[in-house]
Every structure is written in C-alpha cells, then in structure tokens.
C-alpha cells in the first residue's frame, strides 16, 4: 500500500505532467466547457483513490481509462450523445502518443513558462505574485509595501497562485473564481472572461 508521500510523489511526477493533454481530451469530449475543470478534478480524485493500494505501472493508460469511463458515464447520462462519440472515447490510444513532449519540460522551458505565466496576470496581481516569489515578501509586507489591505493582497495572491499553477500545467492561466467568491475579488478583474466563472 502506497503511503501519502509515495502517492504525492507519483501524482506530481507522473500525473500532473499529463494535465495539458488530459484537459484537451476532456474538452473535446465534453459538451459543457464550464465543466472541464470539475471533470478533471474528479479524474484526479479517482486516480488518487485508486492508486492508494498500488501505484499504477502505466500512469497514462490508467489516467485515460479513468477519464474515458467518467466521460462515457457523463455522456450516457446526457442521453443525447451519438454512438460515434462513445466509440471515439473508447479509442484513447492515439492520445497517449502526443503526451511525451509535455513530460520533457526542461529547466529552461520551465523558467520561460514561469515568466510567461507571470506576464499574463493582471498588473496588480502580477506585482503581488512577483513580490512573493522574487522578493519573498509576506502578505503583511506586501500589503504595507503596496499600501492596501491584507485581504486584498490575499485575494490577489491566491488568484495569482491558481492562475500561475494553471499556466504552468499547460492551461490558459486565466483566473477562475468559485461562484461564492467572485464579487469584487480584485479591481483588475476585467482579464477574467465571464465564461470561466462556474
């Protein structure tokens, strides 16, 4: 039985590098674009639950099997999906081949991507993230430095963290807010497309 450390290591090392391709796969096979992150999260959850006893030998195949089953069930529930669609879902083999590139993100690419991730944040949010990452500021220090309240900094920082994480894993890096938390989270929220809010 794999413990948490092994599970954690496996998840970061084997599963997360597949996120970009997995997200494409989900998006192509799901009618509702707003549900992509929810489905992905559920795939991760199931993958982790299933890997508790033994870590899978072939993570790609394992992950795509989970994804496919989940998507097929979703499609069947929707009852408006053609047989061809389900058949297409069955054939996941060609997905696997295109994944390798993502795995070999080297140090230089990683840095370039990190900078691009920072780049596409709204200005205020970018500055908060920069102060954190580059200068090592605490939220208190950041608040003092920028002359705003600590609540604002916390919102901008958590938004920034999520956007950067999304971008690092191959996503668009746009900030997605939970419905309960959308109201005036930050002033420069115009960069967030409305469709990303569930």
């Amino acid at each position: 039985m794999s413990d948490d450390i092994a599970l954690h290591g496996w998840f970061c090392r084997e599963v997360l590098p597949l996120e970009r391709a997995l997200t494409h796969y989900i998006r192509r096979n799901l009618r509702d674009p707003d549900a992509v992150t929810d489905v992905r999260q559920e795939i991760y959850e199931r993958a982790l639950l299933g890997a508790r006893r033994d870590l899978p030998i072939n993570t790609q195949a394992y992950l795509y099997t989970i994804a496919r089953n989940l998507l097929i069930n979703t499609a069947r529930r929707a009852q408006i999906v053609s047989i061809e669609h389900v058949a297409e879902l069955e054939d996941v083999r060609h997905e696997v081949d295109m994944l390798e590139t993502e795995r070999h993100l080297n140090a230089r690419d990683e840095l370039r991507r990190a900078m691009a991730a920072l780049e596409q944040l709204p200005p205020r949010c970018r500055e908060v993230v920069r102060l954190r990452k580059v200068e090592g500021y605490t939220t208190r220090e950041t608040a003092d430095h920028l002359g705003v309240g600590i609540d604002t900094i916390e919102k901008q920082l958590t938004n920034g963290m999520r956007a950067i994480a999304d971008f690092m894993l191959g996503g668009s890096g746009r900030i997605k807010r939970p419905a309960a938390n959308t109201a005036r989270a930050e002033t420069s929220s115009s960069a967030t497309p409305a469709k990303d809010v569930p």
């Binding site: 970061c12 999260q41 140090a107 990683e110 090592g136 963290m161 994480a165 807010r177 939970p178 569930p198």
Partner: protein, 371 residues
C-alpha cells in the same frame, strides 16, 4: 463542491503555509482538511507543485519582457518532478531584502550586485538607505567595487585553515560563536573578525550553524558561488565545479559571483537545496526530510533514498580508503537505507545478500557487478 471552490481553499492554505507565523495548530487544521477527502489532496498537491515550478523566476529576478539569459546554462535536461515541503521562513527574511528600494529590479543589475557584495562585507550592510545610495551615486559604487574585489577573491593569508582527512569529521567553534562541522576530506579557511565573517570552502563539505550578529552577515565562498546569511543552519558541499547547498532552517541567499555577466541571485529557505554548476543554479525539489538525510553524515551515517548504486558507492568512497567500484551492469539499481559511513562491509554484505549482486575484492577495491 466545485473544483474551483476546492482550489480556492487549497490556494489559501498554500499561501498561509508560506507565511512566517504559520503555527503547529494551523498545521493540524491543514492536515485535517487534507484528510477530509482525496479531492482536497488532489487540489492542494496540484496547486503546490505548479506554484513551486514557478519558483525559477526568483532565480532571475526578472519581471517583464526580459528573457535574455534564459538560453544559457547547461541545465537543459533537468526535469523537476517533485514538490517541496514548505517550511516557514524565519526572521532572516527581513534582513535579506532591500525593502525600501523603489524599483527592486535594479537590485539584480551587475553594478548593484557588486556593490551589494561589498556592502555585505562592511559593518553597515543591509541598511536600506545605503542600498539606495549605492545604486544612485557613482562615486560610492567605485569605492565599494574596490572592496568587492578582495571579498570575492582568495582568502587572506592569515585566514585560519581547518582540515579533515578522509573519513574524518571535526566540529569547530568560531570566535563569533558560530559553529562549523567539517565532513570528510574538507578544507575550510575562515576569516572571522569584528568587521567580517567570511569562510572559504576550498574542498569537501561543511555544515554551518551561524550565530546571528546584527548587521554582520556570514559569507561562505564555494567555487563561483557566494552564500550570504545572517543567522541560520545550512550545509555547503563542493564536488568539482558543482556546489550543493542545503538549508535546514532560515533563509540563505546564493549569488553566482564570478561570471562577469549579470549575476544570478537565488534565495532558498529551510527544507530546500540548491545545486549549482557553472552559470546554472537549480533549486531542487526537495523535502525537509531529504535535507535531514543529506546531513546524516553529521552522525557518521549515510542515508540513501532511492539513490542509484553508482551514486551511493561514490558517497561511500568519500569516506573510505577502500573504494567501491560499481560495474555498469549494477550502477542503475536503486537502493535505500541508512548506513554507517565507515562500515563498507555492512553495505557490501547487503548488496550481496539482499540484492543478489556479485561482489569481488581486487587489490583493495571492492567490485560490484550485476551477474
């Protein structure tokens, strides 16, 4: 619950855990949240992993549009795959930052770095107004640049030399109250006065427990890297042109000091390690536990976690005259465990018994092969 909502909660945890006032009570709350469902773990691990990946921007200190320098270095094939434990930074943060600087980006310009290195050597280091002054007034830079030459070069002739033989270990208390522990085959020169605290790691490995001295940083030179701290615990190892730095607690600043190009500055905190070679600085994905096992030598032990047999043998060979040679047929085997550094026999016996490897002795060398 929606994925976005869980992710937001995870982000709040991740942010709070990075704060210096993170408490054991909060850690317990966090652990309870993590255990409440695999969905929480999935969201947190994902966020933490990706957020750590973005740490590289700190090494450059760039903000926007400045991509020069990325193409350099020999770190092309390094793949970072694990996340690190976050350990709360200590009060050292404050000292290592020039908070008052209006445009922090200038901190990383070559002239500024030369000047800052010089400043670290003087008793007035870290005073914010001096940072500012140094940047803006040319005569000051000139004056400080002169001193910087002496700082980043060789130790003074009267610097105290501390050495250990192969397999040796030594603990030394410095006049400022700091402690250095020397590992096997190590040579350290120390220049500790009221005006400066500088140490040159000429070869080998040493662990430092630096006593805090107000405004007087402790500087360790190792190859073309300079490690600057106020008060903290860390180790530095030189292996050829590679420099390894592991931080047990506190915060250290690593400067790449002698390339003549824009120096790279990396700040690492407890639980993290740096591997530096040439112009490349890699903050490796390590956990606090790994840093601990990395320092097992302080108890005369070697601790391996899924290390290749080839690397493990090289570790043993640092401590013993009787060398272990691993044939390519066995070098890639991963092993783990904790061994007494001086007890080659126990290690070799394990390879024989548990791994079924072939062990032979020739001319005082132990040769290990797969079949």
């Amino acid at each position: 619950m929606s994925a976005a909502l869980i992710e937001q909660q995870a982000a709040v945890w991740l942010m709070r855990r990075e704060e210096p006032d993170w408490s054991p009570e909060q850690e317990a709350e966090f652990a309870a949240w993590m255990d409440a469902g695999m969905a929480h773990k999935a969201a947190y691990w994902r966020l933490e992993h990706a957020w750590r990946q973005a740490d590289r921007i700190a090494a450059l200190g760039l903000t926007s549009g400045e991509s020069d320098g990325i193409g350099e270095g020999s770190d092309d094939n390094i793949v970072i795959s694990e996340t690190r434990d976050m350990v709360s930074p200590t009060a050292d943060i404050v000292a290592l930052k020039a908070k008052e600087t209006a445009s922090p980006r200038r901190l990383w310009r070559p002239a500024a770095i030369a000047a800052s290195l010089a400043l670290f050597g003087s008793t007035v280091a870290f005073a914010p107004q001096l940072w500012e002054r140094t940047f803006n007034s040319d005569p000051t830079i000139a004056v400080f640049s002169d001193t910087s030459a002496s700082i980043s070069s060789a130790p003074p002739p009267d610097a105290e030399a501390l050495t250990t033989p192969i397999g040796g270990r030594k603990m030394v208390r410095l006049t400022d109250g700091s402690r250095i522990e020397l590992n096997t085959q190590t040579l350290v020169r120390a220049d500790i006065t009221n005006q400066r605290r500088e140490v040159w790691l000429e070869k080998g490995e040493a662990y430092f427990e630096v006593k805090r001295a107000d405004k007087l940083p402790f500087i360790v030179h190792a190859g073309n890297r300079t490690v600057t701290v106020l008060g903290t615990k860390f180790s530095v190892r030189r292996n050829g042109d590679q420099v390894y730095i592991a931080v047990v607690e506190g915060r250290v600043r690593v400067d790449e000091s002698q390339s003549g190009e824009a120096p790279r500055t990396t700040i690492i905190t407890g639980g993290e390690m740096v591997v530096a070679q040439g112009l490349s600085t890699l903050v490796t994905a390590k956990q606090a536990a790994r840093v601990e096992s990395n320092l097992a030598w302080r108890d005369g032990m070697l601790s391996f976690d899924r290390m290749s047999l080839g690397e493990a043998a090289a570790e043993f060979n640092r401590y013993n005259d009787q060398k272990i040679i691993v044939e390519p047929s066995a070098a890639a085997i991963r092993i783990g465990g904790t061994f007494r550094a001086s007890n080659v026999d126990a290690f070799v016996r394990l390879l024989d018994n548990a791994y079924g490897l072939h062990v032979e002795e020739h001319d005082g060398q132990i040769v290990i092969s797969g079949e």
